[in-house]
Each structure stands twice: as structure tokens, then as C-alpha cells.
Amino acid sequence: MEKHFSELIVNTTTTVFKSMVFMDVKEIEFEGKIDIPGKHVTAMVGFAGVYMGLTAIHCSIEFARKIGASMLQMDSSKLTNEDVRDALSEISNMIAGHFKAELAKMLDAEQQVFEQSVPSVISGEDYETHAIIDAPHYYAAFSTGKDIFYVELAMKKV
């Protein structure tokens, strides 16, 4: 089952990036820690229901700007910091939402497997995040060819 969750978050991320950000992203090997030099940003969505946990996307501020520019069809130099945070929030929301739908399909669930919180965004140069959960934790790394970003899933059945 754990392998399925991990595959599901990878498929969800590639689908959301292709359809909403118009970017092809490929999973690459996760080397044990999130390593983003310089300013970076994290958008997290908590969820609760039959399953509880969170999903998070971690990337550099430059890549978050590219996501914003692609989603909003704007020149990245014209985006405000708030535009960038909103775009990354929206992506994290969509990853959680798509994951929820795929998880429900996989489990053949008739009711919602969870409901989502609003995203929180963390932005800065020197920080790390820790989900406090006594359950498996999944990380996946992705590359666009130029940029690397990470998606995290922490989840347990209630």
C-alpha cells in the first residue's frame, strides 16, 4: 500500500504540472534530504477525514516565480511576491485535491477520503519543515531539466 501512495503522489504531481503549469516534470532520485540553496518557498495543505496528514511542495523562489508566470500567463518580472505565493498555494491545493480523487479511486471509496485546509506558505532562506506524525512519510524529487523541486506526503489512516 505504501508503494501505491508514493506512486500516487508522483503521478498526481506530474499530472498537475502538465495540465495546470504546462510543464513536463520527471521524477528523479530523492537523495535523502530537501536541498534547495538560497531563497526557497514551501506551500503546505493539511487534510483530515478518513485519512489525515499533509502535502507540501518545496522549491526555489525562482522556480515558484516560473510556476506563477506560467499559470497566470504573465511575465515573471511583473509578478508580485503575493502573486508567487498565491500560485504556489494553488498548485499545492491542486496536488492535494488530485491526490484525494486518485486515492478515493484506488480505495474504491464512496465517500470523501479527506477534506483539505487552506494552504500555508513559508518563504525564507534558512528553514526546514517537519511533519509531526507517527506514520510513513514520502518524499519525491522532480526535475524540469533546469529546476528541481520536491513534494512531500505525510499521511495516516484515522
Binding site: G53, S120, H130, I132
Partner: protein, 165 residues
């Protein structure tokens, strides 16, 4: 929609209650306190998401010294002996308890008989030079309390789910 004033009152009561009942500590307030700039130095933030008829999150942020003091109160340890993991667990638990107390007070206020939201798992951020943001349309209610020689800044984001209105 609830007013920022009511959100502030409920959040303040939740923090006061958790500190008093779980740590035997009375927090205090200073007039017009914005909490200073904790983000320049090493600090901790714990968040917990709300999901259901109302969506949002609550976060608490404090300096490492204040986080150590809170950890020592909650776990009954000497503050010089607490580890980073102890601090993360304690701060995460305080956010969880503040979120739980807020849920209970908010449910009483709504008086609808329905569960207002479920809570997700806590997440802890540790570092310096970082800030936390909530979506602009979910309110950004802030409460600052004095804890020993430091400040604890709580941020509440809350919005009614459009499907449950």
C-alpha cells in the same frame, strides 16, 4: 463570516486556556503589540490545518528561547536539557491543543450541531529568516502574547467552505 474581533477573542482565549491548564502558566498582553521581528533570529513555527465546513489553519511562532521555555513547562524538563526534537514535539503539541481549544470555542459560537472542522497533523518549521503567510482571502488574525521574556505570535486563517454555505 465572523469578525476579526471575535476571531481574536476566541484565539486569545484558546491560548490562555492551553497555557493555564496544560502548563500552569498565565500569559500576558502588551498594548498594541505586533510581536517585533522574531523572523530575523532562529525561531520555531508550528501549524495545524482545519478542514471541513470551515477551512484554515492556526500557527504559533516564537524564538528558540521561548520555545525551550514552553517545552520545559510542557514536558517538565530543565530548559537547558531539551533537544530540538523535544522542542518540535512540544511546539507541535501546543499548536494542536490551541487548534483543538479554538475548535471547541468556535463550535459553541456556531451552535449548529455540526462539526465545524477536523484538524490535520501538526507541522513544525525551524530556522531563521523565514515568514509564514496565509491566503489573503482567509483573514489573517494575529494575537501576540508575552511568554516569560519573549513573545508568542499566533496567526489564524479561517474561511467558510463555499460548498457548506
Amino acid at each position: 463570516m465572523i469578525s476579526e474581533e471575535i476571531e481574536k477573542m476566541l484565539l486569545s482565549k484558546s491560548i490562555e486556556n492551553v497555557f493555564k491548564t496544560m502548563m500552569g502558566y498565565e500569559v500576558s498582553y502588551s498594548d498594541n503589540d505586533e510581536g517585533g521581528d522574531i523572523s530575523k533570529h532562529e525561531h520555531y513555527t508550528a501549524t495545524i490545518g482545519f478542514a471541513g465546513g470551515w477551512n484554515g489553519f492556526v500557527s504559533i511562532t516564537c524564538s528558540t528561547d521561548t520555545a525551550k521555555f514552553i517545552t520545559s513547562l510542557l514536558l517538565g524538563l530543565d530548559s537547558t536539557k531539551v533537544t530540538c526534537e523535544d522542542i518540535r514535539d512540544a511546539i507541535g503539541e501546543v499548536a494542536n491543543m490551541v487548534g483543538g481549544r479554538f475548535k471547541s470555542l468556535f463550535s459553541e459560537l456556531q451552535n449548529s450541531g455540526k462539526e465545524v472542522f477536523k484538524m490535520s497533523i501538526p507541522s513544525v518549521i525551524q530556522g531563521s529568516e523565514y515568514n509564514i503567510f496565509a491566503p489573503a482571502d482567509s483573514g489573517n488574525t494575529k494575537v501576540v502574547v508575552n511568554v516569560k521574556d519573549g513573545k508568542l505570535v499566533a496567526l489564524l486563517a479561517l474561511q467558510e467552505d463555499s460548498n457548506s454555505k
